[in-house]
Symmetry: C2
Subunit: 213 residues, 2 copies
Amino acid sequence: MYIEKSLMQYALDTRSSDPTPGGGSVSAYVATLGSALTSMVGGLTFGKKSFQDVAEETRVEMKKNAEELENLFNELAGIVDEDTTAFDKVMAAFKLPKDTEEEKTIRSLAIQEGYKEALEVPLKCAEKCYRVMEIQGVFAENGNVNAITDIGVGILLAYSGLEGALLNVTINLGSIKDEDYRKEVSSKVSILLSSAKNLKEKGLEIVYKRLEG
Amino acid sequence: MYIEKSLMQYALDTRSSDPTPGGGSVSAYVATLGSALTSMVGGLTFGKKSFQDVAEETRVEMKKNAEELENLFNELAGIVDEDTTAFDKVMAAFKLPKDTEEEKTIRSLAIQEGYKEALEVPLKCAEKCYRVMEIQGVFAENGNVNAITDIGVGILLAYSGLEGALLNVTINLGSIKDEDYRKEVSSKVSILLSSAKNLKEKGLEIVYKRLEG
């Protein structure tokens, strides 16, 4: 499993011309790190005296967010390997026999089903990244100011993970023949991307404002 | 060394409240992956028939770029650990005696010297990221279209590494008393950031255009 490989080995495997790991797996790992940095900021915030100045409602929310970040971290880390096997089903479908018309139909359906399942993996990744970004907005506003650059880096990484994952959804969508499905996913991609851009800009604005203090 | 730790362990160490690894080290690793994805696209491009359609001058440039990317990869990977020790000198300076006026002066000078050296590490990281991004522009235009999303993810990561590193330069600049030095570095930061934003937008524009084919 890639998640158990060393940073250097994973980077070297990425650099090689082998298709895996590619941009999808890498996007998930980058987002895992973005989530990790946000958790770290939580750890550097909750025990501090200045945290008592934050409204109680927000403090409760942030503690809940910290628990949720642990799940998001694990889910994103899981996608690092899940993404590299997402295409196994497509590849297997391409190897099905295609001698008779019936075989051709079965093969074609299996390929389409494989593509749909494969693109659900980066789509799930992007949705997890988006949730990390929502949480980062609250942490940017109320987290320990001494760790404000770590929130900033976290936002950049969760956003990159999201856009990177959506690039992988989009390229695979090109192989899908089901027009309704294509439209549905394509509209999801647009909404996620523009909402995430908005969150990123707002989050970084807070980061730079607090950084210049 | 962090670069030899597993992806999971590095992410867990980032998540912990220990100060290292923080956003600086993580930015360098993310940029390493961005450089690796770009090299991979080179590997998926140079042997292909379609590469012969690219102008000879550009082909020669891209081969040289590919060699340069190997160096940038190694330099960025080196910063993953270098960043975590960048502050050792600052910390040591803070522990110097401060009983006499002379000791106070020596201690203060050593702290200032430490901060300057420490911020040179993320500044170097940002400069390496910038060079990766310049190369990515050429690869986005002329690389194998089947790997266009990997170029896109690579651009997002090199850019995030750059902005993440510059956030770390900026926060440490706040501790520097030498106004000339502060102005000089601050102007470098502004120029690097705005030029990189420009490169990112241009690069991603090409990626989306070729993706939509």
